[in-house]
Point group: C2
Chain length 347, copies 2
Amino acid sequence: MPRKKQKPTIYDIAEVSGASPSTVSSVLNGSWKNRRIRADTAQRIREIAASQGYSANLQARGLRKAKSGLVGMILPVHDNRFFSSISQSFEANARERDLCPVIASTLRDPQEEIRTVETLISYAVEAVFIVGATDPEALHRICSAANVAHIFVDLPGPDAPSVVSDNIHGARLLTQTILDEMPADKGQARPYFIGGVADDYATSRRIEAFRSVVMETLGGMEDDQIIACGYAPGRAAREIAALCDRMGRLPEGLFVNSLTAFEGVLGHFVTLPHEAFDGSVIGCYDYDPFGAFLRFPVHMMRQNSDALISAAFAQFDTGDFSPRLIMIKPDLIAPRTIYRGRFVEFG
Amino acid sequence: MPRKKQKPTIYDIAEVSGASPSTVSSVLNGSWKNRRIRADTAQRIREIAASQGYSANLQARGLRKAKSGLVGMILPVHDNRFFSSISQSFEANARERDLCPVIASTLRDPQEEIRTVETLISYAVEAVFIVGATDPEALHRICSAANVAHIFVDLPGPDAPSVVSDNIHGARLLTQTILDEMPADKGQARPYFIGGVADDYATSRRIEAFRSVVMETLGGMEDDQIIACGYAPGRAAREIAALCDRMGRLPEGLFVNSLTAFEGVLGHFVTLPHEAFDGSVIGCYDYDPFGAFLRFPVHMMRQNSDALISAAFAQFDTGDFSPRLIMIKPDLIAPRTIYRGRFVEFG
DNA sequence: GTCGTTTGCACAAACGATTGTGCAGTTTGT
DNA sequence: ACAAACTGCACAATCGTTTGTGCAAACGAC
């Protein structure tokens, strides 16, 4: 019932105010000083616009300026601790720059990634942030053919800035922590790495870091200490069970390479008596607060999603989209089980 | 290096093909049959468009058609299990309808909600889905002033369709389950409700349901069995500690009204000996899989985010935006602790 | 051979903004 | 008092689509 039915345009305001559409436009978008519009004219127009409930049609503006005010991001899924945290940072950063964030999940489907990026480009987004892409090359080709700025996050891509987690640093730190906390007699210790796919970008780096720290610290390591059995919990559960079986106990150190693998590991751990954990140090690359509810302490690496996105936007701000690799260190989260060493009370 | 520099337009295609822009347009958007374009002309144009890497400028199209192909959703935060799951469903539903989802989080800030909805409207979104709004009235006014379809989700709003979780049903079911599982002698039992804010939309309904089931089943209930102490874990921890202190044991039944309250409750529970849980049944309204890692079983209600969003889109599809309240039943998740009754092994 | 139909497309006007340019009137400089 | 400079705005083109309308040529019926 208010006004006619459609949103007022600058033409409506122009008519009411007696000014021309161009004057109205420049007043309303702030360019009126350069256009030498009288201050009181501007004020009058602004009042009329407000009273009519005017707001710019951003599609028209976008069409004219060949910019949309939109900034796109694609990621594998929303319902995941890491990615939803990425989304949250992305929003904040986009809004700080007066951009409207458009976040799309592509379910790790290369075709869907391509379609989605094409759609974003058709909306003339000012940049595309590509998080955890499965086919970075294809996306890069599309974006650069359309001359659209793009930045890879979490997984590096070709010929464009990439902001990734510093897996080497993180894995070295976690491994070092595990080794440090291990019982005194480290001579014969055989720490294990479990989970992940060996030629994944992230996993391969972590394995490398794990191996080098173990070699440096313990002086030796064998290949069977790496169990890259994928991400499925069930598989990890079987592998850890088999391992414990062979060793007759838990390994002195265990580097679990993902939450899902950790879930599997836990599935086996619950079958073990409490003392089983006494001589072991557990670390998990990736973070979930439920770690605080476990009966034994876990060192966890939390990927710094905030820093990843902030760094990506910082790069965006520079306007320089030449290739480079920016590493963000993840955070080591100290064990924080709420069972705080009172296990004995539970017996 | 490919082509000139900018994306080709229908004019470019027109020039190459020798057809007029309008012909190209109608071919490329599918309206060519009604316009009596020869099939082979259409085919030729389509091939040229493909070879030039044409894709429509969606801003221009949106401007012309006064529709954008965008559909907006606002929600409090991304990094939350429930809301990120909502996002995931929203995406899927939007894409099914060939709409591009724009999801924005507003951090429970009424001003931000308003600004965001205004922005979405300026982009001519085809509808706004409003999830968990803090100021539904204001948002309704804005949308209806701009004549934009909107649907409230999770928290009802005025004068528009609302799809909400069936709190009454869920809370009745959870309460009933707790009471059923309680030890045989229910005569003197005093189940408790803890967490939430009593005049919240959801909490008030849940309290009402809890109360009525308790009255029906046990024949009586006192006001102090409702401890609506808010959502902060710390507060819940203190309240449950004080309660246990007064009673000298855990209550026979406990209805925990949110994950955060549950976190607080757990903080106290870890100080209790294992036998303390023997005579108690715990339920939590809201779901987190970490429940599977606890030493005692927990009945959890999972809000059905998929069903909520699907129902909202179903309503959207009808094109009928008159007020109505659609209730979605949440799911009761059976206890599934991975400690599967082997507690004794841990002593 | 004439007169309606149909076919196949081109023309041009929108959509709502932005922005380069033009042009009266007023002010300033001398 | 006359040119130069400045003020304050209006005009019109433009961004890339969509879509109502117009108009020749081909076709059909008689």
